[in-house]
């Protein structure tokens, strides 16, 4: 059976061209880029080229604004901890309730250390209240960290506008763009974003490589101290093979950006409409009009997400769920709870995330099997009888 991979927000397949570009850096090109001899030199040049490829993808003014890290999580931690260290008089952070744990867990930890964290809440469609945000910005704020696109729903936050507002208030702005990079055009030089995180494995590069974009002139304190790599901003011998890979992936992402926003988007919409047309008591979570072109998150009421995934997996289809049972956390995803999803649906969310490798035939196959899967589980559910919920029928606010 052919497998269908629709979990690209979790991680992506490494592009074969990326693999090809990185392989020599495991073999002949093994030099340490800091070395003065030719072994080092050649690798050093390759890293510079990769830096420029990423600079182009991000629309950064200088290639030196690109700092390589080990992953998206490290970039996020570096950004926030640097802002706090560099401005010890400022003790507050502004972020949102729907950030990735890379931000949220760090913030919880910092709260224990006495920092104040303001969490912006979201409405039923996952949108922020910018007036509330404006009111929170102050000379106490060390940093604002807001994700560009949410990993579960794909919903965009207005980061360009929010960075502008932060800048007016004299506050540093960081965005976790791990899900957005490669899928939306980014032009950092014409923005007020000071720091941005990205992660290689979300854009067809390998795992374990990330970038922190650091606008020239931004006050900075490194997380890792040691050698002078990355101009002293991130010590540790460079992961040259992965850096070269990420550079190549950035170049390819630029080429496929149009594809993502046309072909992939059309496939995503086809999938979504195909499912919703056939299945009652299901709805899209997040903001359908303002989200990543590859992501669709659907809540199926009266059934539970893990069992949907198990049946999908039996059909060779890989997706993911915000259901508690898939994570072992026993609570449905914090993103779904933050949006106030009814509990009838909060346990039954399924995320399909496409990529440039997704085909129409694959999408049609999912549309074909989905109604049977949902019907099978509902027939087992005590909340369902004769094609309708047994509970008091209700109209979710998301219809």
């Amino acid at each position: 059976m052919d497998t269908i991979y629709l979990d690209n927000n979790a991680t992506t397949q490494v592009d074969p061209l990326v693999v090809q570009a990185m392989l020599p850096y495991f073999t002949e090109q093994f030099g340490n880029p800091s070395s003065l001899h030719q072994y080092g030199n050649r690798v050093g040049l390759a890293l510079k080229h990769a830096r420029q490829q990423i600079q182009t993808l991000l629309g950064a003014e200088h290639d030196t604004e690109i700092v390589f890290t080990s992953c998206g999580t490290e970039s996020d931690s570096t950004a926030i901890l640097s802002a706090l260290k560099a401005q010890p008089e400022r003790r507050e952070i502004i972020t949102t309730v729907v950030e990735h744990p890379a931000i949220l867990s760090l913030c919880e930890y910092l709260e224990k250390d006495g920092y104040t964290v303001h969490y912006l809440t979201v409405d039923g469609k996952g949108r922020l209240d910018l007036e509330h945000y404006q009111a929170l910005l102050s000379d106490q704020t060390a940093i604002v960290s807001v994700m560009w696109a949410n990993n579960e729903t794909g919903t965009f936050f207005p980061v360009l506008e929010m960075a502008e507002m932060a800048s007016q208030a004299g506050v540093m702005f960081h965005t976790d763009a791990v899900q957005a990079v490669g899928k939306v055009p980014i032009d950092l030089k014409n923005s007020k974003i000071d720091m941005l995180s990205l992660s290689g494995h979300k854009l067809h590069a390998p795992k374990g490589i990330g970038v922190l974009y650091l606008r020239r002139g931004t006050r900075f304190r490194p997380l890792l101290r040691g050698g002078h790599q990355e101009r002293g901003r991130r010590a540790g011998t460079e992961n040259s093979a992965s850096i070269v890979a990420l550079g190549k992936a950035a170049e390819l992402a630029l080429h496929s950006m149009k594809h993502e926003n046309t072909v992939v988007k059309v496939l995503r919409d086809r999938l979504e409409q195909g499912i919703l047309a056939q299945i009652q008591h299901a709805f899209v979570t997040g903001d359908p009009d303002n989200r990543l072109p590859n992501t669709c998150n659907i809540a199926f009421e009266y059934i539970e997400g893990e069992s949907i995934l198990l049946l999908l997996n039996k059909h060779g289809i890989a997706a993911s769920s915000g259901s508690a049972c898939t994570s072992g956390s026993l609570e449905p995803s914090h993103v779904m709870r933050a949006m106030g999803l009814p509990y009838t649906a909060a346990h039954g969310t399924v995320r399909f995330s496409l990529s440039r490798y997704t085909t129409e035939a694959e999408i049609d196959r999912v549309i074909e099997v989905m109604p049977g899967i949902i019907a099978q589980l509902r027939s087992l559910s005590p909340y369902w009888k004769n094609n309708a919920p047994v509970q008091e029928a209700f109209d979710p606010a998301y219809a």
């Binding site: 392989l23 020599p24 049972c325 898939t326 005590p382 509970q391």
Partner: protein, 311 residues
């Protein structure tokens, strides 16, 4: 994804006794939509013998919740009510060849549904004694009685265990202290001291270390021949044989490989023709290297020699 046993998967994909039971005279409902799992157990009991003639279920929940429900109905059919009430959650889990620890609460739910259904048949209100305990976990509405019973029945020793079995403490964590108190009480009765997770992990690690047997350090071998048990001549013949065997394949791609020298663990070869500039030269080399290692039974380095070895 979880590591579900074959049996769990089998009962999830082909649940036994699913659906409504006509003529049920005992019904037990537990769980709720908001908890993420809910189970209705329906039993048909022979009033004269109190034997469970039939049992069916309806479940909203994850794979193991559905599988546990299916297992429960299979286990209790044909048992008398008193026999059925002896079924522990561990038996349900064992019937399924085990459940992941995070999923043990599914088997606990099965047992509760059974108690509720029996109480319903007998005209009792099952939840009464249950509600005597104060709610410890507000997130999942788990009370002290259930936590204590589950700790005793399964010899639990940590807060995490309790969360896995009952869900209590799996939400906001605010009740972890309360759970620790109950653990303390039960363990004290048994004469055991409560250990925090950290202490237990450390103890486990220490025990694991003492169990590892350290192999005696071997003295380094002087010659390669001694390592692989081959004479120098035998080694070179084997190396030649491997190289010869891969040549036709490379020649088909307009390339070639030639053995230049063998110095200790280093085998020097020259790649010619299409192979040299080819991106995949290193891949070719690693493939040949792998074959050499397998053939000789020792580790060797396969090193390419460029056209002018002096450069």
């Amino acid at each position: 994804m979880w590591n579900y046993s074959e049996k769990v998967q089998e009962h999830f994909f082909n649940p036994r006794n699913a659906g409504e039971l006509e003529g049920a005279n005992g019904i037990g409902d537990v769980g709720s939509l908001s908890c993420g799992d809910a189970l209705r157990l329906m039993i048909h009991v022979d009033p004269d013998t109190e034997v469970i003639l039939d049992a069916r279920f309806q479940t909203f929940g994850c794979g193991s919740a559905i599988a546990s429900s299916s297992a429960l109905t299979e286990i209790i059919k044909g048992k008398t009510l008193d026999e059925a009430l002896q079924v522990s959650n561990q038996e349900i889990a064992d019937f399924l060849d085990g459940l992941p620890p995070e999923k043990m609460h599914c088997s606990v739910m099965g047992r509760e549904a059974l108690q509720a259904a029996v109480a319903n048949y007998r005209g009792e209100v099952w939840s009464d004694d249950h509600e005597e305990g104060a709610l410890v976990c507000k997130c999942f509405a788990v009370d002290a009685v259930l936590i204590e019973e589950t700790i005793r029945a399964n010899n639990l020793t940590t807060v995490q265990d309790v969360s896995f079995y009952t869900k209590a403490g799996g939400g906001c964590s605010a009740c972890h202290e309360g759970i620790e108190d109950i653990l303390n009480k039960v363990l004290a009765e048994k004469g055991q001291a409560f250990q925090s997770n950290v202490a237990r992990v450390q103890a486990d690690a220490e025990q694991a270390l003492t169990q590892i047997e350290m192999p005696p350090l071997s003295t380094p071998q002087v010659t390669e021949a001694a390592v692989s048990g081959l004479s120098t001549l035998q080694r070179i013949r084997k190396i030649e044989a491997v190289i010869e065997a891969v040549r036709p394949q490379l020649q088909r791609d307009k390339g070639d490989i030639e053995l230049i020298d063998v110095v200790g663990k280093a085998v020097y070869v020259r790649l010619t023709g299409a192979c040299t500039g080819c991106q995949l030269a290193s891949v070719t080399l690693s493939g040949v290297q792998q074959q050499l290692i397998e053939s000789l039974g020792e580790f060797i380095h396969l090193l390419p020699v460029t056209k002018s070895p002096t450069a």
